[in-house]
């Protein structure tokens, strides 16, 4: 009875008429009023900044695809055509290329925030998993995107990365030739990478939607890592956090613009402005900066299959992190010992990035050629990049597999505040 009344009463109001048939307006209202912890700090801005990065990449990517030709004999020239002839083509391409770097920078900070404040702990494990899935999809997308300009780094990067799969026994070679569509990286490879590079961002978009769904199920974590006790601990997302997010966008776009307008090729590699040549490998192959830590782990292991497995494991270990970290306290702010191990972990990740960019035969601090392959390296093994990379790799895995499981048992955590509101109000007084 009441239902009929409702539809009758909403017959003349178009908004209500629409809402009763498709309740998207009330859903949007929920997003606006979504109660968020009142104490979120600026580290919580990076999720929304990552979102805007994805939007920028999709928009610039779609328009770039209008001018790009995915064929081995035309791809390089079509990118130059975009740079020189297409109206604002230089801007679109530089935004897209630097946008990828910015996206990874923001997402890495977002991940480190989660690691410090224990955002992966119950009840947010699935939210954390979905985030790792997004990271993996981003890596695949970025890798395939980097192949499209068909420069020397594109070609050899594609060769090295696809060859990772040849490390697997028996099926390895078949997987590689299946990925290539031939006996080497060639036109079929370029074509399929273009197709997938176009598709994957939309898959990422879908998983981001799931990530937000999972987020809204239990709400955001916060710098204190304690659950909200009631409405006094929360404020509506709009206008408080929308305005804070917009402020974050502004600061972020200043950094982004600096790279686009003043150092557009700083994060790239000059070899990629040389057309791909299957007969000559550049003397020093490096991936983009955001893959360097993983590349360092790959090279640190002396065995081919072992290196590949460790590289994949370095990300997959994140999936089981919620169960490796035995500490019940979420936030690092109340874990005096954890803080130091975490700080060291961040430095180790940066260190792995630095090592990934150096020649494995070189010596740290003495220039790339000081102990290269002429045999001198063996005299001063303690200083080789390889040795340092191995130490850093050991700490990377020890952090997850040894330190976090043990810390929860032996660390004496600081007392937690009673509510989110309490310390906020105290600070003000």
């Amino acid at each position: 009875m009441s239902k009929t009344n409702n539809s009758e009463s909403s017959c003349c109001n178009p908004v209500e008429w629409f809402e009763s048939r498709f309740p998207i307006l009330s859903w949007m209202e929920h997003q606006k009023e979504y109660p968020a912890p009142r104490n979120l700090n600026y580290w919580w801005n990076f999720g929304s900044i990552a979102g805007i990065c994805l939007v920028v990449q999709i928009i610039t990517g779609i328009v770039l695809a209008m001018h790009y030709t995915p064929h081995v004999s035309m791809a390089f020239d079509s990118v130059e055509h975009i740079m020189r002839d297409v109206n604002y083509g230089w801007l679109l391409r530089y935004v897209h290329a630097n946008g990828a770097s910015m996206f990874f920078l923001v997402v890495y900070i977002h991940i480190f925030r989660g690691l410090y404040y224990g955002s992966y702990k119950a009840p947010r494990e699935v939210l954390w998993w979905l985030g790792i899935v997004i990271l993996l999809l981003m890596m695949a997308t970025a890798f395939m995107g980097y192949v499209l300009p068909w420069g020397q780094m594109s070609f050899w990067g594609a060769t090295v990365i696809t060859n990772l799969f040849s490390a697997f026994p028996v099926v390895g070679e078949h997987i590689v030739s299946w990925l290539w569509g031939g006996f080497s990286v060639d036109n079929p490879t370029l074509n399929r990478f273009f197709s997938l590079h176009f598709l994957l961002p939309f898959v990422i978009f879908a998983v981001v939607f799931l990530h937000l769904w999972a987020l809204h199920t239990h709400g955001s974590n916060n710098p204190l890592g304690i659950d909200a006790k009631g409405s006094q601990d929360k404020i509506p997302f709009h206008p408080y956090y929308t305005i804070k997010d917009y402020f974050g966008f502004g600061v972020f776009f200043m950094l982004f613009s600096y790279f686009v307008f003043f150092a557009p090729n700083y994060l790239g590699h000059p070899d990629n402005y040389t057309p791909a040549n299957p007969m000559v490998t550049p003397p020093h192959i490096v991936p983009e900066w955001y893959f360097l830590p993983f590349y360092a782990i790959l090279r640190a292991i002396p065995d081919k299959l072992g290196g590949v497995l460790m590289m994949f494991a370095s990300i997959l270990v994140l999936f089981v992190l919620p169960w490796l970290d035995s500490c019940k306290v979420r936030s690092g702010a109340f874990r005096p010992t954890f803080k130091w191990f975490f700080a060291l972990f961040v430095l180790v990740c940066i260190g792995l990035g630095v090592m990934g960019g150096k020649s494995p035969d070189g010596c740290y601090g003495s220039g790339a050629d000081a102990c290269t392959y002429n045999g001198q390296g063996e005299n001063i093994t303690l200083l080789t990049n390889l040795f340092i990379a191995r130490g850093l790799t050991a700490y990377y895995f020890a952090y997850f597999l040894v330190i976090l499981p043990l810390l929860g048992k032996y660390e004496k955590t600081l007392p937690l505040p009673k509510s989110i509101g309490e310390p906020v109000l105290k600070k003000k007084a």
Binding site: G181, D186, P188, T281, I285, P302, S359, N374
Partner: protein
């Protein structure tokens, strides 16, 4: 759920068993059908007929002087053809097989009576870079700049991350100065 239920019972259990069976087989059939539909989508990524057709190449060796090396393209990959010097052949033969990661005598990597010709796919067995030739590396052969693998004068892996010797492709001597690869 017992198919041999007695006729005195009402026949619902027998019916349900039959219905379960039909549903199960129909679903299994649909599953097999769906899997069969996936195969063309997977297999389309494998090398196509025109790629497979371009799989052999002929090379004239007469212009290559002793100590020289040329690169030819075969299946989109470089193939090194080296006219080895007597010293290089000697070095390759002297190596003890116990010292090798992928043990193979030099004689297994060249054609009998043509020991001076070394023909190999110029792709590092680590991650597919093209090694640098011309007596490079610690073993007078090839050196891969990407991740530091060293190969000797027979193209065998001696040091670094690569697991295998440089691959010797299938090839035949058509006469003393011509080979066909593939």
């Amino acid at each position: 759920m017992n198919a041999t239920s007695t006729p005195s019972n009402d026949n619902r259990p027998a019916d349900e068993t039959r219905r379960d069976f039909l549903v199960l087989t129909a679903q299994a059939m649909a599953g097999i059908g769906a899997a069969a539909c996936v195969w063309p989508l997977v297999d389309q990524m494998n090398p196509s007929a025109d790629v497979l057709a371009l799989s052999s190449t002929e090379v004239d060796l007469s212009p290559i002087q002793e100590g020289q090396e040329i690169k030819v393209v075969w299946r989109g990959k470089p193939v090194f053809i080296r006219h080895r010097t007597a010293k290089e052949i000697e070095e390759a033969k002297e190596v003890r097989l116990d010292d090798l990661r992928d043990p193979q005598p030099d004689s297994a990597r060249v054609k009998e009576g043509h020991e001076q010709w070394l023909v190999m796919v110029g792709v590092c067995t680590h991650l597919g870079c093209v090694p640098l030739g011309g007596n490079k590396g610690d073993f007078d052969g090839w050196f891969c700049p990407c991740h530091g693998s060293h190969y000797d004068t027979s193209g065998r892996i001696r040091k670094g991350p690569a697991p295998k010797n440089l691959l010797v492709p299938d090839y035949v001597f058509l006469d003393d100065n011509r080979i066909r690869i593939g």
